[in-house]
């Protein structure tokens, strides 16, 4: 039996995280207010200008929520298959579409009859997937649709990229006013921009704590924490939560409180995890004492980063930290878009030197011993980059384990085979089992 090296303790803020996530889902069930469906790669700050009673159903987190209700997820996927929607499409979207077709809603508390009212679809499209998803969903629900082309261009974005997105957003905000009949409040919008950027910034700071040995957080826990930024980063509740979380994680880092007391190895992962099978993370921890410190997905889905002159993966300053004077709608849009165009959200799905350079930098800075890569068939753009990430890490002499799966279609994952193969990998790394 191996002895633990570090002290550990549960996260004190955990119940608050769960309660806040539930609150955001409960709000969407509220028949009052304005209900908007949007991909979580969308900036939600602009919706705040429509009032304080705007509730957002973030598409991908909702798809992930469905997949954690295994029976319901299977029904949704089968409904989508029966409707002849392509099997190779985003597995989140196939769950989501099935939920619409079945007219049922997956909530953290269970599955409810009747999909809640949606008033319109408004989404960023960092890839055609986001766009076609909402195009199909809005057609099914017979709802108005606005889509913003958000180029994934980091680090090559120029002023014209920002101009392009701002032009669309200005048009989009007018469209929102016309479609909802609401007068847009620029002050609420500016407040939300600062909130959103701050939520993202603080999450990124929290991720940096995991460079610490021992890592104060494990990635499975981080999945339940970043999601608040995916659901409502523009809300003051989320900003407040992220600051509290940062304080607690900082304290853990300072006191050497580990997420996994053995920390026999530090792994990084890659890609959206197979949500129905997060127990793999616990398996790595409980069988081999390994901690997973995070991934480009966990860090950058709701955090903004860049590569500095030294080639380090570092957090980007918010508009407020840069001292930007935001007074008008256009000021706010420019600041927001410039911030979001950093290595964030869908930039990580896009192939290219930047992604692989950043991944290698992460492995170095977060002191990673090995990588566990999900070759994710459920997210086509992401799945395509898996082998390139593997090659990049191997070039940096990081051992890599790959497994095929899907982020939200449990049928596309062989749990037993994956564990078998992982055990062989762990043996090769010389990781002893914790228990005989």
């Amino acid at each position: 039996m191996i002895a633990p090296k570090y002290k550990t303790a549960p996260l004190r803020i955990w119940p608050e995280a769960k309660a806040l996530r539930k609150k955001f889902y409960d709000e969407y069930l509220n028949p009052a207010g304005l209900h908007i469906a949007a991909c979580s790669t969308t900036s939600f700050a602009p919706f705040a200008g429509l009032g304080r009673d705007v509730y957002i159903l973030a598409s991908e987190p909702y798809g992930a929520t469905i997949s954690t209700h295994s029976d319901f997820s299977l029904q949704c996927l089968q409904a989508t298959d029966s409707a002849n929607l392509g099997r190779d499409l985003c597995s989140y979207q196939r769950n989501y579409y099935g939920s619409l077709v079945l007219d049922k809603f997956a909530h953290p508390d269970g599955v409810f009859d009747k999909f809640p009212r949606t008033d319109l679809h408004f989404s960023f499209a960092t890839s055609y997937c986001n766009a076609k998803w909402h195009q199909l969903a809005s057609e099914h629900q017979k709802l108005p649709l606005y889509l913003v082309d958000m180029p994934s261009v980091f680090p090559h974005y120029k002023k014209r990229t920002i101009d392009y997105v701002v032009t669309q957003m200005l048009d989009g905000i007018e469209w929102l006013e016309k479609t909802t009949g609401r007068k847009y409040d620029d002050e609420l919008f500016i407040e939300a921009v600062h909130n959103e950027c701050e939520s993202y910034r603080v999450w990124a700071d929290i991720c940096v704590f995991n460079q610490n040995i021992p890592a104060p957080l494990d990635e499975k826990t981080m999945f339940s924490l970043y999601v608040l930024n995916a659901l409502a980063p523009h809300r003051h509740e989320t900003v407040g939560f992220m600051h509290k979380l940062k304080d607690e994680v900082g304290e853990r880092a300072e006191k050497g409180i580990a997420a996994v007391p053995y920390e026999s190895a530090r792994f990084m992962s890659e890609a959206i995890p197979p949500w129905p099978f997060l127990k793999i993370w616990r398996y790595m921890e409980e069988e081999f004492g390994a901690v997973c410190i995070g991934s480009s997905y966990t860090f950058a889905l709701t955090g903004c980063w860049k590569l500095d002159d030294k080639g380090d993966f570092v957090v980007v300053e918010t508009p407020r930290e840069k001292g930007l004077d935001i007074r008008t709608r256009e000021d706010a849009l420019r600041a927001l878009i410039e911030y979001r165009l950093h290595w964030c959200m869908d930039s990580m799905y896009v192939a290219g030197v930047t992604k692989y350079t950043a991944t290698k930098a992460m492995a170095r800075q977060w002191k990673v011993d090995a990588a566990v890569i999900h070759l994710n068939r459920g997210c086509p753009p992401q799945g395509l980059t898996g082998m390139q990430v593997k090659l990049a890490l191997q070039e940096a002499h990081i051992p890599v384990f790959t497994y095929e799966g899907s982020n939200a279609d449990a049928r596309d994952f062989n749990y037993a085979a994956t564990l078998n193969n992982f055990e062989a990998f762990a043996e090769q790394l010389g990781l002893p089992r914790l228990k005989k």
Binding site: D88, L89, S127
Partner: protein, 376 residues
């Protein structure tokens, strides 16, 4: 027969490119997607050639990308690159459309390096406000990069000439396609595909001379084959000539592809560049207004009215909805199109393509013709 010349051009496209280089001293730049503004490359004195697959199984790509989620066409293109079939390319360009193309481009750039490589950012939407200015700016950067590499200016006059050459080729293609509306089309689907594939891999001015010859032959051409069912095929990039040949020549029930809607067909040449003082803006407008790839066809659907128009004009009796396996943009759209076609009462059938053809395709299409159209 001139159609045979077009077949030969496709068959010998690598040899053609090598000989073109020797003959002209120019550079050859491969491209993966037809959102590439070929006119700019042509104006630079280079030859843009579309990279195509060879339809032979290969495991060369497995190390770089899993075959369990990459578009077979892009995987096939990448295989050809890794096998050295495109060693004559001086450069490669990818106009942003789908992640499969981007991944292929990235791997090519990393592992089959050329002297010039460029990822051209193209708006993901072909409809949103600000797209023309954005794309015009990206074209300006692309033009500058080409000028720097080639050490020569791409003048307005060169752009004008390139636009004229390309518009002329498109006009000829459209004129030839008019003949496909005939009761007995003198151009089969396979021949039309070879016409477009050869256009994408040949100097456009030279290609136009072949098309002019073909146009002279078509009015008097005796059509001995039975037209049979008038088919339309639409969907992902399709360079599978064997498939077209099987459907048009080997089915027990005669059929002819009278029209198609994909980027080795009508989408490639349907609209012209309308010249204007700002040449790059003229190109941006043309490429944003062209019949869209589904990856760019949002928020409104512009493809469906175009497809609907083609069905009526070419009197298509049945539609084959194809997509390359893992081609998500077309999987999304084929779902919508199947419903739209069903609402119109138009027989249709969905097919997935891979690098090589599955043995059951012929039977499936015959069954479709028998059951949907009651031709037997």
């Amino acid at each position: 027969m001139t159609a045979d010349k077009l077949t030969a051009l496709v068959d010998s496209r690598h040899q053609y490119a090598r000989e073109w280089k020797k003959r002209t001293g120019g550079k050859v730049i491969g491209y993966l997607c037809t959102y590439n503004p070929e006119e700019i490359v042509y104006a630079a004195g280079a030859l843009p050639v579309r990279i195509l697959g060879a339809h032979k199984p290969s495991d060369l790509t497995e190390k770089y990308v899993t075959s369990t989620n990459m578009c077979p066409f892009m995987r096939d293109c990448l295989s050809q690159g890794l096998a050295g079939d495109y060693d004559y390319l001086d450069g490669i360009v990818m106009a942003q459309t789908c992640p499969h193309g981007f991944e292929c481009f990235h791997i090519w750039d990393e592992y089959i390096p050329r002297n010039f490589s460029y990822f051209l950012r193209v708006p993901i939407s072909s409809q949103n406000p600000g797209r023309f200015e954005y794309l015009q700016g990206e074209y300006a950067d692309f033009k500058q990069a080409l000028e720097k590499w080639l050490q020569k200016e791409i003048t307005d006059e060169a752009l004008d000439r390139a636009i004229e050459v390309y518009n002329h080729n498109r006009t000829l293609c459209r004129k030839i396609y008019e003949f496909r509306k005939n009761d007995k089309p003198p151009v089969t689907g396979l021949e039309a595909m070879e016409m477009i594939l050869s256009s994408q891999t040949t100097d456009k001015a030279e290609h136009s001379r072949v098309l002019e010859e073909l146009l002279k032959e078509l009015p008097d051409k005796k059509v001995e084959r039975e037209t049979g069912t008038r088919l339309m095929i639409l969907g992902s990039v399709n360079d599978d000539r064997e498939f077209m040949r099987i459907v048009e020549n080997e089915l027990s029930i005669p059929a002819t592809f009278v029209i198609e809607e994909h980027c080795t067909g009508s989408r490639y040449f349907w609209n012209d560049v309308t010249p204007q003082k700002d040449r790059l803006m003229a190109l941006a407008i043309r490429y944003m207004h062209r019949p869209p790839c589904p990856a760019k066809d949002w928020p409104r659907r512009r493809r469906w009215p175009f497809i609907s128009h083609l069905i009526k004009e070419y009197r298509a009796q049945a539609i084959l909805l194809m997509n390359q396996k893992f081609c998500q943009p077309h999987e999304y759209d084929n779902f919508f199109l199947a419903k739209a076609l069903a609402q119109e009462g138009i027989p249709h059938y969905s097919l997935e393509f891979d690098i090589t053809l599955s043995t059951g395709l012929k039977t499936r299409i015959e069954a479709m013709l028998e059951t949907m159209l009651e031709v037997v």
